[in-house]
Symmetry: C2
Subunit: 341 residues, 2 copies
């Protein structure tokens, strides 16, 4: 097991990356002195087919916790106010109080939703997350961002709420659908692009073992990715400046997702499409895009907009990026129209 | 105008208490360097009968802000998810972004609701509050608590989100309904009871001028109350310990409110009833209470419960209190049954 320490000023916490560590969760949380009651938020499949929930419930019960399990349907549609309301009410009725903890078991959807519910139930209770997708392990489980979608846009409602512990078990990736796994790889490539040329080289050399989901290679790569993101988040917890480099590719990516409808492309595919857009201008890739007009509409609604200015993340080469404020959109609209040419 | 500084570690802010200061709001916010856009959340009556909203819009516009106004119906029912959803969506469609500010103009309901929306829109934007009731001026506008009600209980969903500025104009109290004004006085008495015997003496001596809503007396008393609460909040922003003294009377008070139905008694009346309960045991007051069984149910659901323990605030005499953890409820249930005797 590898442990990445995230040194936040108010609440430092650990990310544990390992193989077969979910059944040891009771031992991992013991030093945190969590309250008696734990509410697990997960998907039905993680209770049934995979049995992860039962193994965690057993492990927590053995160290004295009372555990309730609440499930939400899979898919981005679950990041809704309706699901948040269900969770707030069921967890309150289930006896959670201010000393209790919410544990998210699942991918980014469960993490974002359960994290927001933890940030706001009783004005904020503790949160532990056990991400089971590659994307959630390398990205959404690090940094404390939580959120829900509105019809007006993605993650428009949310809070920063740091977890007390992250437990990433790479064995959960064995059964992940191929498309989901590749989505996670898009974020891995992004982290290498913005911060770590050596990791980029490793990915190139070890591509076959990565795609074959070799547990040792994945454990090392995931821990490395968590460390890259942790170092950025430590310097800028609330996204006042530097943290924006993590948005590399996301402004246009989110607009593509919103324009096509959430769930039609995965988050990772949308990010990757930003890279593809560039490659396509070099004549290397063809793909279908929403109309430039539709993309413009969603980009102008981006929640990262501050007084009409958006920070774009520009690559300076593999492993290095810079931030550029954009308020004159002419070049971008031209580039978007170029995508259709 | 009197200014009370709240010295919080991460975000110090000022509470301005004065007479006729709402029309000067543009000048008061100038040093805060708020973003261009401001969304005002208020009640229809404060736009129409009193014209406060228009005077603030004018004042903010003169210093370069673009302002939109969204109204919510009066009453505790507005502290709902449905109203929060309406505000998130209308403010997002109205062009607010991460640099924008939400300004609450109204009583505790508007402050708690708009504060929660500010805490969670775009993962948290700036918040300014202009409380227009005595209760909001001395209590809910200080300390950063925001929240919504669920059918399961009051303020079960919420966040700590400190304002950037509080502007309390005592002239707004002139038109306050008598019952609302007295509700605020219950909190004023509570602050004196827990922390300031001298203030208690002032209230006894100046009772007539207080009830006559003398602006000079109110300005001084409100500033004093804000200072009392600010000193407590500074020492314990997240209610880990000391801040619980502010809950004096609230555990039973909230249970009375929940059992009778929100809005049947005002918040202040519910707090005052805790004092009354004691007086009644001395044979001094008679009043009607919900059944002890119903009160027990709501007390056991109190969101301040931690692992089955509730901190009760006990008075040691005027101006002084202590905290006592309660997990054996026998005495309390006996006392509640005594109320009906």
């Amino acid at each position: 097991m590898m442990v990445v320490r995230v040194n936040l000023a108010n609440q430092p916490y650990d990310i544990c990356v390992g193989q077969g560590i979910l059944p040891q969760l009771g031992g991992l949380v013991e030093s945190l002195q969590l309250g008696r009651r734990v509410g697990i938020v997960t998907h039905p499949a993680l209770c049934e087919a995979h049995g992860y929930a039962a193994s965690i419930v057993g492990s927590l019960s053995r160290v004295g916790h009372e555990v309730i399990v609440v499930t939400v349907p899979p898919g981005e549609e679950s990041k809704s106010l309706a699901q948040a309301e269900r969770l707030w009410r069921e967890l309150a009725r289930g006896g959670l109080d201010r000393a209790s903890t919410i544990l998210a078991l699942g991918g980014g959807v469960v993490g974002d939703l359960a994290g927001f519910v933890a940030a706001t139930l009783f004005r904020g209770i503790r949160f532990v997350t056990a991400p089971t997708t590659l994307l959630a392990q390398v990205d959404s489980s690090v940094g404390g961002k939580t959120g829900l979608n509105l019809p007006e846009g993605k993650n428009l409602v949310g809070a920063f709420h740091q977890p007390s512990l992250v437990v990433a078990d790479v064995l959960t990736l064995k059964t992940l659908a191929d498309r989901e796994f590749r989505s996670g790889l898009a974020e891995v490539v992004k982290h290498a692009m913005i911060a770590d040329a050596a990791l980029f080289g490793v990915l190139e050399r070890e591509a076959e073992r990565v795609l074959g989901r070799d547990a040792d290679v994945l454990e090392a790569i995931i821990a490395k990715n968590c460390a890259i993101k942790a170092r950025v988040v430590e310097q800028d917890e609330r996204e006042a400046g530097l943290r924006a480099v993590l948005n590399f590719g996301h402004t246009v990516g989110h607009a593509v997702e919103a324009a096509l409808g959430y769930g039609v492309v995965t988050h990772g595919e949308a990010v990757a499409q930003r890279l593809e857009a560039l490659l396509r201008r070099f004549g290397l890739i063809t793909t279908n895009y929403p109309s430039p007009e539709l993309l413009e509409k969603y980009i102008l609604r981006d929640k990262k907009m501050r007084d009409g200015v958006l920070q774009f993340v520009l690559t300076l080469g593999v492993g290095s990026v810079s931030l550029a404020p954009v308020s004159d959109w002419t070049d971008l609209w031209e580039a978007l129209h170029g995508l259709q040419a």
